[in-house]
Amino acid sequence: MIKYIIRRLLNLIPVLLGVSFIIFVLFNLVSGDPTAVLLGKNATAKQMAELREQLGLNKPLFDQYLDVVKSAFTFDFGRSWATKQEITYMIKQGAYPSMVLTVPAFIIATIFSLIISLVVAFYRGKGIDLFVRILCIAGVSVSALAYILGFQYLFAYKLGWFEISGFEYGFPDFVPYIALPAIIWILLSLGPDVRFFRTIMLDEIYQDYVRTARAKGLSEVVILLKHVLRNALIPIITYVVIQIPSLILGALLLENFFSIPGLGGITLNALNSSDFPVIKAMAILSSVLYIVMSLVTDILYTLADPRVKLK
C-alpha cells in the first residue's frame, strides 16, 4: 500500500513536467510581453526593457522553461510580479475562504445528489422520477449569474438572511457569508450529479445480485442503499473526485459576486495582469491536488470494490 502510494506519487514527475510545459508555452510564449502591463500606463520602452531583463524574460527559452520546472518541483514560487506578494502567502490567504465555501457545498451537493438519485432510481419511470429530474435540470438550466443576482438581491438584501458580501475568517463567523453562495453552488451541481448518478444506479439495478437481495426479503430501500449504492460507487467516486481540483477555481463567479477573497479571484487577477508566477503556482498546485485526488480515488476504489487491487 505504502509502496503503491509512493509509486503513484512518482507519477507527479511526468505530469508536473507536462503541466510546466503547457503553462510555459501558453503563457510565456503566447501571451506576450507582461512588462507593459506590470509597469502601468506611463511605462517607457527603456524601463520595459530593463524589467524584461530583471524578470529573466531575455534568457534563452530553454532556461526559462527550466526555471518553471524548477519551481514546480521545489514549490518555490517566489513573488507575484503584479502584487509583489509572496505567492505561498497569497495561496494560504485565498485557500481558506475558497475551501470553506466549496468543500462543504461540494459535500452537501454530493450527498443530496446521491439521495435524490436513489429516490429517482427507486421510482424509475414513474411520475416522481420525471418530476425530480425536470426540477434538477431546471435548476441547472438557469445561468449561475441569474441565481447570483437574484438570490443576492432577494435573500441577502430584501430578507436579510445572509450577508450581502464579504468574508470573515474563523468558524462560525464565515457562515453567514458563505451560506448563500454555497446554496447556489449546490443548486447548480444537483442537476448534472443527479442525472449521472441515476444512470449509474439504473445500470446496477438490473443486475442479478439485486434479484438475490430481493429474494432474501430485503426491502427495496435497503437494496438501493446497501447493495446498489456500493456497486455504483466506483464510477461515482471517479466522477466526484475528479471534480475536486476544480473546486479551487470552480467558484470564481461566486467569489467575485460575494466578495469572497478566494483563490478564484487570485487566479483571475493573475490572468488579467500577466502575472506568470501566480498562474504557474496555481496550475502546479492544482495538478498536485489532482494527482493526490486520483490517488485517493484509487484507494477509495479498493474500499468500495474488493475486486479492485492496487498494483
Binding site: 506611463n42 509572496e86 438584501y157 466578495s259
Partner: protein
Amino acid sequence: QDNFDEREINLVSPEKIAGYDPIHASDQYSGNEAGKVYEGLFEFHPLKRPYELMPNLAEALPTVSADGLTYTFKLRKGVLFHDSPAFKDGIGREMKSDDVIYSLKRLADPKLMAKGWWLFDERIVGLNEWRTKYSALDATVYEEEIEGLKKVDDYTFTVKLKSPYPQFLYALAMPYSFIVAKEAVDHFGKEFLNHPVGTGPFILPRFDQSNLIVYNRNPKFREKFYPTEGEEGDDKLGLLADAGKKIPLVDRINVHIVVESQPKWLSFQKGKDDVIELKDNNIDQAITKEKELRSEHKEKGIRLILKPQLDVTFFAFNHEDKTFQNRKLRQAMNMAYNRAEANRLFYEGTAIDAQGVIPPGMGGYRKEFKNPYVKFDLEGAKKLLAEAGYPGGKGLPEITIQTRNETIARQQIEFFAKCMDKIGIKINVGMNTWPELVNKVTKKQHQMYTMAWGADYPDAENFLGLLYCPNQSPGSNGANYCNPEFDALYKQATVMQDSPERTALYEKLNEMAAVDAPWVFGFNRTRMYLVQAWLKNFKFMEFNHNQFQYLNVDLEVKKELSKKF
C-alpha cells in the same frame, strides 16, 4: 452590528489592493490606501477648487533658483514615523531630509522597477546616471550622494533639475513620492509592502488585500488641522463645520473590497457603506432623468454628488495604419458618433461631450470651443466619408476596435458600431484581457482601441502628452499620432511654468489636435457619489488619496437613520 459608539467609517474599494509600497501605487485605489498611511511633501487642498497645492510634510512651498532648476525645500519639524519594530525600541523616529532623498531615490532604484519612475526619468541631475550604474551591479548603494538630491541639514534639502519641470511639485504630491523610512524598508525587506510605516494619520492593523482593510487612527499623529477656508459655498454645505479641529476626525476606517457592482450597491443600500461611487448600472436606480436623487434615497438622507471628472474617453485610431492617415475619414467617424444617445444609454446623460483632449476644469480647456466634428451630423459624416474616398463606406475595410473584457465596454463598442453602420462603416468588437489589450497597443497590433485617461495631476500637459509623437507605443500615445507642428508647440509648452501664455498655448494645442480628429472623441465623464447623511466633510476630489483624514461621522445621525435601513 452597527457601530454607534466609535467614530468609524466604512468605505469600498472595487479593486484588490496589491500592497503599500508607494513607489508602485500607480492606480487610484492603491493610491487611496497608501494615502491613509503615508504622506507626501505636498498635498492638494481638500476644499479649494481649482486644485491648489499646499505644503504637507514640507513646511512651505520651496524656493526656486532664478534659472528655475534648483529647488530648496524646508521640512516640517516633529513629524514622526509610526511606531514599528523596524525602529530602535520600536518607537517611530522623526522624519528628516535623508528620508525624503531616500524615498525619491527608491523610485530610481533599478532593482525595484518603480511604476512611478517615469515622473523623474531624465529630470533630476545625476539620478539617471545613478540608476544606470546600479542596474549593472548587484546591490544599490543609497549612500552614494548625487548632485541633484542634496541634504543641506536635517530639515533642508535641495533638488537640482536637468531642465525646467513645471509639474515637479505635482509629482511630489503624488503617492509615488510618499515618504518612507529606510529602516522599515530594510527591516521588512520584501515584505515591506505589507508593513507600511509612514507618517500618515492612520496605522494599519489589518490587511486582507482582497477582503477587508482596517485602519486605526494614528495616536501620535502630528498637529494637523482641518482647513478653515474652502471654496465658495462649502460653508453652506457644512464642509467647514470642523474647521480648525485636529485631524484625523475618526478612529477607524474599514475598507471593504467589493468587485462587482450589485453587492456594492446593495451594501450601500443597507447602510453598511458610507459612500459609494455610482457606476453604470446603478445610476438609473439612484437618479431620475432630471439628474435628481430618487425620493426613496432622499428619505434615507442620502446625498448625491455630481462632479465633472478630469478625464476623457476616446476611441483611438492607430495612425500607423495607412487607412487612418485619412483625416476626413477620422472626422467623418467623429461626426457619425451619436454622443447624445451614448450619453443617455451609458451615463444617464451626465457626461459631457469631449470637444478635445483636455477636460473641463483644467487649464487649456476653453468653454467656448466647440469641435465642429464632435457635432452629431449623419449627413455631414456621409459627405466627409465620400470625400475621404469611401462613399457609403465602400472600399473601407472592416475595423476592429479593441477593448477590455467588460460588459459595459462591449456595449459601448456595440453602440459605436451601430452608429458607424449608419454611414456604412463596419465595426467589430475585440475584447481583451487587460494584458492582451496592453500588448496589442504597445505592439501597435490594433486598428483602433478605446480607453479613458484620467489626470495624474491637474496640468493639461498630462493629457496633451497622449498625442506627443515621442510618447508613441509603448508610451502613452497608443494612437501613435504624430504631428510635427503639434510636437514642436508641445515641447515648448512643457517647460513653461503655469502662466496665461502657457494656458493659451495649451488651448491652441488642444484645438489644433481636436480638429485633426486623432481620436473619435468620447466624453468627459461626471463622477457620481452617493453619500450617507452621517458621513461628514465628503467633497469630491480628483486626487483624493489624502481626503480620508478629513472625513468625519455623525454618530447621532447614524443612529437615528439606521432605523430606516
